[in-house]
C-alpha cells in the first residue's frame, strides 16, 4: 500500500499513520453504509443522467466522499466537453 514517494525515499510509513488512513476509509464506509460496488453503480447512473443533457468525459468522472465535520459530502467532478451532440 505504500505510495510512490515513500518507495523512492525508502521511508517506511509508521503504523500510527496507517491506523489513521485505514480508519479514514472505514469510517466513511460506516457512516454512509455504501460499498465500493454501490458507489460505482451510482457513478454510472450519474454519468447516464448528465449525459442525456450535456456531453461529458465519462472516463475521467470522479465521485468522492468529503468530510465536513461529521457531515459526509458527496463530491462529483464531471469534466464537460460541450453541448450534447444531436444525433
Amino acid at each position: 500500500m505504500s505510495s510512490f514517494i515513500d518507495r523512492i525515499t525508502g521511508r517506511k510509513r509508521k503504523s500510527g499513520y496507517q491506523a489513521k488512513e485505514r480508519l479514514q476509509l472505514v469510517l466513511t464506509h460506516d457512516r454512509t453504509n455504501l460499498t465500493s460496488d454501490v458507489i460505482e453503480t451510482m457513478k454510472d447512473e450519474i454519468i447516464d443522467v448528465i449525459s442525456r443533457h450535456i456531453s461529458i468525459d465519462a472516463e475521467t468522472v470522479r465521485i468522492d466522499f468529503n468530510k465536513d465535520g461529521r457531515q459526509q459530502r458527496l463530491i462529483a467532478d464531471i469534466p464537460v466537453i460541450g453541448p450534447r451532440k444531436r444525433r
Binding site: 503504523s15 480508519l23 457512516r31 461529521r70
Partner: protein, 264 residues
Amino acid sequence: MAGKVITVTSGKGGVGKTTIAANLGAALAAVGKQVVCIDADIGLRNLDIVMGLENRIVYDLVDVVEGRCRLRQAMIRDKRSEGLYLIPAAQTRDKTAVSPSDMIKLCNELRPDFDWIIIDSPAGIERGFRNAIAPADVVLVVTNPEISAVRDADRIIGIIESEEKGPAQLIINRIDQNMVNRGDMITQEDIVELLAVGLLGIIPEDEKVIVSTNQGLPIALDDKNLAGTALRNISKRLLGEEVSLLDLSNKRGFFGKIFAGGRQ
C-alpha cells in the same frame, strides 16, 4: 440544586468507562459537589468494586425501579468521599429490567438533591446503552488510541447525534506517549480529526491506575500522578473552568527532551 446528568459511554468495552466515571465522581465530590454515580451495566456490575463500595450493597438499581426499596435506600454513601454516592447495578438481572423512561424518571428524582449524576454506561449499542443516554444532559465518549476503539466511538457518536443527545464530548484514554513519539500510535490530533467532536480530555497510560483500582481508591485524588491530574482536569472542565490539555510530551526523559528539540 438542578443536577446535571453526565453519561460515560464508549461503544467498545474495556476502554476505561467505569474507571473514568468513578474518578470523575470522586474528583467532583472532592471540590464539595454532591455527586451520585449510577451503574447502568445491569448484569455486569463493576462500578461498585472500582469505587471500593462492593461490600456495602443491599439494594440496587432494579430494586428501585421495581419499587422494592426507596431511592435513598439503594444509595451507598462513600465514607471516604464526602458527598459521593453510588447506586449499584443489579447483578442477577438483565438489561431489559430497566427502560429508558425508568432512567429518566430516576434522574429527575435525583436532580434536586445532587449537583452531578454520573451514569456509567455498558459497552455496546443496545438497551443498556439506550438506558444510559436517555436521561443525559452531557454524553462523554471514551476511546483509546486503537483502531477498534476509535471506530466504535464513531458509531456511538453517530447514534448520540441521531438521538439528539449531542454533541458528544471525547475523552482519549491510555495514550502511550512513547509509542506516539515513535509513530506507532494514532495521535490525539488524528483521532479528533477523524471523529470531528470536541475533545474534553486526554489521559496518559499509567500502571498506577490499576494499582489504585486494585485498592479501591480513586487515582484522581492523587495529585502527584499525571493520570490523576488528567482526570481532575476533566472534572474542572465539566465545572466550566478553562484548563488546557496536558502536555504529555513533557513526560519524556532527559534524552528524549534533547532529541525532541523544540517540538511541542
